[in-house]
């Protein structure tokens, strides 16, 4: 095998079995016999199954299902799994369709046939779609951790709670959240979390951290007076604000809606600062931190950008930056490669506090208008 990163190599796939109007038991039996059946089907090499996790992907509709299937296949070599893509449609007439795909590759001296991914696409219609755990639980591989990945914002309803209980870990993409209120809901989830948007923020966090590696620059962190965060989506901007607040010990004082976003006043150790949070897809994404006699700025778009720093003793230095493009499979790969992410949890807690305040303000605003 050549190549490395997710998305570069996908083991060959084959549709192994397809059936309409099937039962969970039939699918379960089929999966249990997968290896021996493949051998019967003329595969002369020994078959090994490699899997380190269960990946459950709830989606709505066939296009998102195909997209999720492709993403999961790209992860097969990094994170061999049993992937269950659950297409729920409670409005349609009942019945369940199933499709099983396997991704295999020859490995080792004996060219053992290794199954790196067994992918199960289940289309569940009717009332059963409201009880997804009853379908998923029998199909999870015992002993292995189960991760549920919602490519879109989760519905936050009873099906969400049910699937969450069946799994050990929740992965979302807060960039796909319709509004920041979702951050508050996410923060209240008890299990381990992962977030693709948080991975997209990783180079920003690294560059910001790096700006403050020189001790003289670090001194300025206690004197910050103004912060501007302009990101492609508002949830991501809030998340980054939450991260800064957590790391630097800030507490929300006040906030109000402004054009294209919010302005927030924070209490920081030894003083206060104002923050502008905005979303703007057309311009470069920017994070700028200012203190008297100091400016730190990281900005960029489409993988390229600059980091600028000016502080006492440093008249102004600009570094060019280049970021890797991050596709959903790449972000998911990083999320899965890591255990529970405490810094995400902490950032989210602070972002959620902002959400809470924002909701209070909306309610108060509503009452005032009345």
């Amino acid at each position: 095998m050549k190549g490395g990163g997710p998305g570069e190599a996908t083991p060959p796939q084959a549709v192994f079995w397809e059936g309409q109007g099937v039962t969970v038991e039939a699918v379960e039996r089929l999966l249990a016999q997968l290896a021996s059946r493949a051998e019967e089907a003329g595969e002369d090499r020994p078959i090994v199954r490699s899997r380190v996790l269960n990946l459950l992907v709830p989606v709505r509709g066939t296009t998102p299902a195909d997209r999720a299937a492709q993403a999961a296949a790209r992860l097969a070599l990094q994170h061999p799994s049993r992937t269950i893509i659950l297409v729920g449609d409670p409005q349609a007439a009942g019945g369940m369709d199933a499709r099983v795909l396997v991704h295999t590759e020859g490995r080792g001296a004996e060219e053992r046939r290794v199954i790196f991914c067994e992918q199960l696409v289940l289309t569940v219609r009717g009332e059963a779609a409201r009880h997804p755990a009853s379908i998923v639980l029998p199909l999870l591989v015992p002993e292995l951790p189960a991760v549920v990945w919602w490519p879109e914002e989760p519905p936050w309803d009873q099906t969400f709670d049910e699937l969450l209980r069946a799994c050990d870990r929740l992965v979302v993409d807060t960039d796909r959240f319709r509004e920041v209120a979702g951050l508050g809901r996410l923060a209240s989830v008890g299990c381990a979390l992962g977030d693709l948007a948080w991975e997209r923020l990783a180079p920003w966090r690294e560059e910001l951290a790096r700006s403050f590696d020189p001790p003289a620059a670090r001194e300025c962190l206690t004197q910050l007076s103004r912060v501007v965060i302009r990101m492609g989506t508002l949830p991501r901007a809030w998340l980054l604000a939450g991260w800064l607040a957590d790391r630097l010990g800030w507490e929300v004082l006040a906030q109000e809606p402004a054009q294209g976003g919010w302005t927030v006043r924070w209490r920081r150790p030894g003083g206060e600062l104002s923050m502008e949070l905005a979303t703007d897809r057309s311009k470069e994404e920017t994070v700028e931190l200012s203190a008297p006699q100091a400016t730190f700025r990281v900005q960029g778009k489409a993988g390229e950008g600059t980091a600028f720093a000016r502080y006492p003793g440093e008249p102004g230095i600009e570094r060019r930056l280049r970021w890797e493009e991050t596709t959903p499979p790449m972000c998911l790969d990083r999320v899965l490669a890591r255990g529970s992410d405490r810094s995400l949890r902490n950032a989210l807690t602070h972002a959620a506090r902002l959400v809470g305040e924002a909701n209070d303000r909306k309610e108060k605003g509503g009452a005032g208008a009345k």
């Binding site: 190549g3 097969a76 890797e324």
Partner: protein, 506 residues
């Protein structure tokens, strides 16, 4: 304000190195082509290099920047594990590559190098950070370091790091001399001594296996372990390195570094942290606890061999004495087997058998822990003719993985036992290909992490042991012959047979 950067800590991001210039001495050599250039390309394609970055090749041969770039492009095309080479990635790397022709021993080349570094610092924003990589014959190490110091190149305004390859000295005295010479220009934390075995994923996995799992540590000691075997077998001969090998031999070439490193990782106490000093402190303790060789013991605890003509992998091969660059009656050993004892509470009385050789039947590296037999066997000996003791084998290469051997009942109405194995293979458990050792090492020295490099006291402790054996062997002690394509001389088998043990079949 706290000392730490509050935006760092419990890192969830891959840290990228600071801006710097990499200067490769001996840029036209094999190592640059086979290892460095492909590793640089791999890091570039994973976007792990900083934007402000440059590579400067330094070598005797006259060459333009463009020719050097073409030269490296060819090397990447041939040796990179990532293929096809992505033109865009290579282009971005290539425009950061430069070349200076110069003699290692005279100062004018260093002046031209200095001018180029200053210019690159200005144009590329590399901030005076320099990494000097010595991919030259070891005889040039101290000269180059001295010249760099004289030309003021080790004080570039940023950090300076120096990387040296093995062999580091050829005995304790020369290793100490070399350390002293490097210390005239640099400090210990600026010197990175490579042992590329430590960059191998499977070698690092020895630590992960031992210290990330709770169930093995309790049995990892003299109460449960019968003995340990560490083997590094090569099917290759000395190839084109005959004249180098004549000076070295298996003991210096393999045992002093790779085998003793494997032994340290297998035998060390748990370090208090996974950082450079904590890990290396524990390794040094192991080396210092190894019982040294007295002249009398050298014969009974060590065996040296030299291959004669034979067949390897279906091809006829010549004997060592007929290899190019080898003296007709050379006493150099191409095989060494050692029996070592570690004098501490954990390992007292447990033999560690080490062996390495060239022209063995196949290439294989492994560390095998053989456990003591069950104290009392319930099942009749006749029912269990082939029952072997439990062995935990950590395979470094090829077929990377871990195998645990144990007894199981053969299905049927009678109690018959048979040895079976529980296998873990990297290739089937993780689908991704592990990075090359040099990729990891390159990244570590760019980031200034010296955990996987050997420290001065470590090198010297290893040499102390090896030198005691070299001196005991002394002059005129001829190696035992073994036919190419066999597992070493008969005397090496006898070394274990005396203890009622035998070498494992690799």
């Amino acid at each position: 304000m706290s000392q730490e950067n509050p935006l760092r800590g419990e890192e969830t991001t891959q840290r990228r190195p600071d801006p710097f210039i990499l200067v490769i001495f001996g840029a036209g050599g094999d190592l640059t082509h086979r290892k460095l250039a492909p590793a640089l390309y791999s890091l570039a394609s994973q976007n792990l290099l900083p934007e402000e970055f440059a590579v400067v090749g330094f070598s005797r041969r006259e060459m333009s920047d463009d020719n050097f770039r073409r030269d490296l492009a060819g090397a990447v095309g041939r040796f990179s594990r990532l293929s096809p080479v992505r033109a865009q990635v290579w282009q971005r790397l290539a425009e950061r590559i430069f070349y200076v022709a110069g003699d290692f021993t005279t100062s004018d080349g260093y002046h031209r190098l200095g001018e180029l570094l200053t210019r690159l610092d200005r144009e590329r924003g590399t901030g005076g950070n320099r990494l000097f990589y010595l991919a030259t014959p070891p005889s040039f190490y101290s000269t180059i370091a001295g010249r760099l110091g004289e030309a003021g190149l080790t004080r570039g305004g940023g950090w300076t790091r120096l990387v040296v390859e093995k062999p580091f000295g050829k005995d304790l005295t020369t290793a100490r001399e070399l350390n002293a010479q490097l210390y005239q220009v640099l400090q210990e934390n600026q010197i990175y001594r490579i042992d590329h075995y430590l960059g191998k994923e499977t070698v690092q996995n020895i630590l992960a296996f031992r210290f990330a799992n709770g169930i093995f540590e309790p049995v990892w000691n003299r109460r449960y372990v019968d003995h340990v075997q560490i083997s590094v077998a090569e099917s290759l001969g000395v190839e084109r390195r005959g004249s180098y090998y004549e000076e070295a031999g298996a003991l210096r070439d393999m045992v002093q570094n790779h085998l003793l490193q494997l032994l340290c990782l297998t035998a060390m106490e748990p370090p208090v942290a996974f950082d450079a000093d904590a890990v290396r402190d524990e390794k040094v303790k192991v080396l210092r606890a190894i019982h040294p060789f007295t002249p009398k013991e050298a014969g009974s605890r060590a065996v040296r061999g030299q291959y004669t003509a034979g067949w390897v992998l279906g091809e006829p091969v010549v004997g060592y004495l007929r290899e190019p660059g080898v003296v007709g009656d050379s006493p150099t050993e191409t095989y060494a087997a050692l029996k070592l004892f570690i004098d501490n509470w954990r390992w007292a009385g447990v033999p560690f058998y080490l062996r390495t050789g060239k022209r063995m039947p196949k290439r294989a590296t492994e560390v095998a822990i053989q456990f003591k037999r069950a104290p009392h066997l319930l099942f009749s000996q006749t029912a269990t003719p082939e029952l072997e003791p439990n062995v935990l084998s950590m395979r470094i290469q090829p077929d990377e993985g871990i195998v645990l051997r144990f007894a199981a009942k053969v299905p049927g109405p009678t109690v018959r036992l048979r040895t079976v194995s529980m296998d873990f293979f990297y290739g089937t458990s993780f689908g991704t290909e592990p990075p090359e050792a040099y990729e990891r090492l390159l990244l570590d020295w760019m980031l200034g992490d010296s955990t996987l490099f050997t420290r001065r006291d470590e090198v010297e402790a290893a040499w102390t042991l090896v030198t005691s054996l070299l001196e005991s062997w002394g002059e005129g002690n001829a190696p035992y012959p073994y036919e190419a394509g066999t597992w070493g001389p008969r005397e090496a088998d006898a070394l274990l047979e005396r203890d009622e043990r035998s070498w494992r079949r690799l």
